[in-house]
């Protein structure tokens, strides 16, 4: 027997997505965190609240992103004291995350999507990928599973969708990524943020849609056409 080796770092190896719709934003993520080949947590929550009505999707190293989320929460709470009723803007939150990510770029492995609702700009999505850039985008995908759904999301996202359309779009995108990416799996978590509400939901593992080759059927394989 070999001496126990140093534990592999826990990575979120993920699929995260956020997109705007008419009146707010919807964030979505899978729920698998892996440590090497072992699934350390199959029901992880990768969508963290950093401020009232602003959420952060985490991908990359679990430790790094949890630390960044903690710092962002601290700074934004301090900032919110000064703002009072006005409420924290998504742009401010995104900039704070960017400062931390860019300033520590040499030692960090964290790709994050910041999305939320504020009074001035309504629904907003910002993405801070690995190097610490900050981009203001109408929709964004991140994590290891995002590469499989880039084309799908580019083709199928429309501006000014309704809430239900957007939610099913987000869930479909994450389920497609789960079916192809080994580091993504578990449940599909979604957070809906708009002027009136912040709703956290999830689709249980057995209800996550499966696609062609995963379905066991006696007859010819049922091929589902994903609308283009």
């Amino acid at each position: 027997m070999e001496a126990p080796t140093k534990m592999k770092e826990v990575l979120t190896g993920t699929t995260i997505i956020a997109c705007t719709y008419d009146g707010g934003v919807i964030l979505g993520a899978d729920s698998r965190t892996s440590s090497g080949n072992y699934v350390a947590n199959k029901v992880a929550d990768k969508i963290t609240k950093v401020c009232d009505k602003v959420y952060l999707c985490r991908s990359g190293s679990a430790a790094h992103t949890q630390a960044v989320a903690g710092y962002a929460n601290l700074y934004l709470n301090q900032h919110a004291i000064e703002l009072g009723d006005k409420g924290c803007s998504v742009k401010a939150a995104a900039n704070i995350v960017k400062e931390i990510a860019y300033g520590n770029k040499a030692w960090m492995n964290a790709g994050m999507i910041i999305a939320g609702w504020d009074k001035k700009e309504k629904g907003k999505v910002f993405v801070v990928p690995l190097g610490g850039t900050l981009m203001d985008v109408p929709f964004a995908v991140g994590g290891s599973g995002s590469i499989y759904i880039n084309a799908f999301v580019d083709r199928n996202w429309k501006p000014n969708m309704t809430k239900e359309e957007c939610k099913s779009f987000v869930r479909k995108a994450v389920s497609l990524a789960i079916s192809r990416d080994g580091s993504s799996g578990g449940v599909i978590r979604t957070v809906t943020v708009n002027e009136h509400e912040q709703v956290k939901e999830f689709v249980t593992g057995n209800e996550v849609p499966v696609y062609q080759d995963e379905i066991q059927s006696k007859g010819p394989p049922q091929v589902e056409f994903v609308s283009v």
Partner: protein, 348 residues
């Protein structure tokens, strides 16, 4: 010296010879000119001195900010000096190893630890084997560490790291309890542990299962060596974690009773003990509820010692006596009288 005096005296006489007046009587204009010239010269000197000190102060100020910001370096991340943990001693140890010095292998707990949330609280379980490489260093070690009266923490990884980290955070929690006058919360200990471990970027090899009951209810968390945490209804850590997780996955249900949870945890640890080489010996449990914590040390001992280390002594009379002889042994007692001149201490 005398010549200087003579010279001075001659000069003074010469001056006096010229009459009482030292200067020629000048006109009003000339007098005014000289008056203002000396005034301006004096002012000039004052202004010059003032400017000199101002300049000096300004230069010094710049130098001071330079001194203060010496350590900060440039804004570019690539040009900055490395911050954080200092690895110079690690380099020295590597060099020593290359020179042939054998380093001690740190004791690893090579463990099975687990925890599960039940209806009224949490149950934490651990095995009791501590390994140093391929040998068992401690057959009955304690892996469930006290953090607070309502919080306990199981530790896997390097024994020194887990014991010291949990001990350190435990004392911080106690100080915090004195400060606040309240029972410690599990999330407090979680944040202290995760920020400490994150600071050391995974080099403190402590994988922990933290469980407790506070005013917000029962909590169970895992803490990884790099500083990430997860909140779960059941979790396992250590080399035997896969074995224990298999038992939990098949046997867990929501809102178990205390007995069910204890039985499930015992089974999970036993799975680790018998199927993982890094875990063994006995099962320790810790049941924490709102009423308090029960630390059940060695509740299950599935590996009893069935052989005796020392053979049973021979019965008296089993060896035949052939000859016996009594030898007088001189007395070793001697009388010693101690004479002291000291008087007893007066305590009145």
């Amino acid at each position: 010296k005398r010549s200087i005096d003579r010279r001075r005296r001659r000069r003074r006489r010469r001056r006096r010879r010229g009459g009482g007046r030292r200067r020629r009587e000048g006109s009003d204009q000339t007098r005014r000119f000289f008056f203002w010239r000396t005034r301006r010269r004096r002012q000039g000197k004052v202004v010059f001195c003032f400017l000199f000190f101002v300049l000096w102060g300004w230069v010094d100020q710049n130098k001071r900010s330079e001194r203060d910001h010496e350590e900060e370096g440039s804004m570019l991340a690539s040009e900055r000096k490395p911050q954080g943990f200092d690895f110079d001693l690690c380099k020295r140890n590597d060099w020593l190893e290359k020179q042939g010095l054998k380093t001690l292998k740190p004791w690893s707990t090579g463990t099975t630890i687990c925890g599960v949330v039940f209806k009224d609280g949490v149950v934490l379980g651990a095995d009791t084997r501590s390994t140093a490489g391929e040998t068992v260093a401690d057959k009955n070690c304690e892996k469930i560490h006290f953090m607070a009266p309502n919080i306990y923490c199981c530790g896997a990884g390097t024994a020194a790291d887990t014991e010291n980290v949990t001990g350190m955070i435990s004392s911080q929690l106690e100080l915090h309890r004195f400060r606040t006058g309240r029972e410690s919360r599990v999330v407090t200990s979680l944040t202290l542990l995760k920020s400490h471990l994150f600071r050391y970027q995974g080099y403190i090899s402590a994988a922990l299962v933290l469980g407790g009951v506070d005013c917000k209810g029962p909590h169970l968390f895992t803490v990884f060596p790099h500083g990430s945490t997860d909140a779960l209804p059941f979790c396992t850590m250590g080399s035997g974690s896969l074995n224990a997780m298999a038992v939990y996955e098949s046997g867990y249900k929501e809102d178990m009773t205390k007995e069910e949870a204890m039985e499930l945890t015992k089974r999970a640890i036993r799975a680790g003990i018998f199927n993982d080489l890094g875990s063994g010996s006995n099962v320790d449990l810790c049941v924490i509820t709102a009423d308090g914590a029960e630390y059940l040390r060695n509740i299950d001992m599935p590996n009893p010692r069935t052989f005796t280390a020392v053979p049973a002594p021979f019965k008296i009379g089993s060896t035949p006596v052939l000859k016996s002889k009594d030898l007088p042994v001189p007395s070793l007692e001697t009388q010693v009288t101690v004479e002291t001149t000291a008087t007893a201490m007066d305590m009145s």
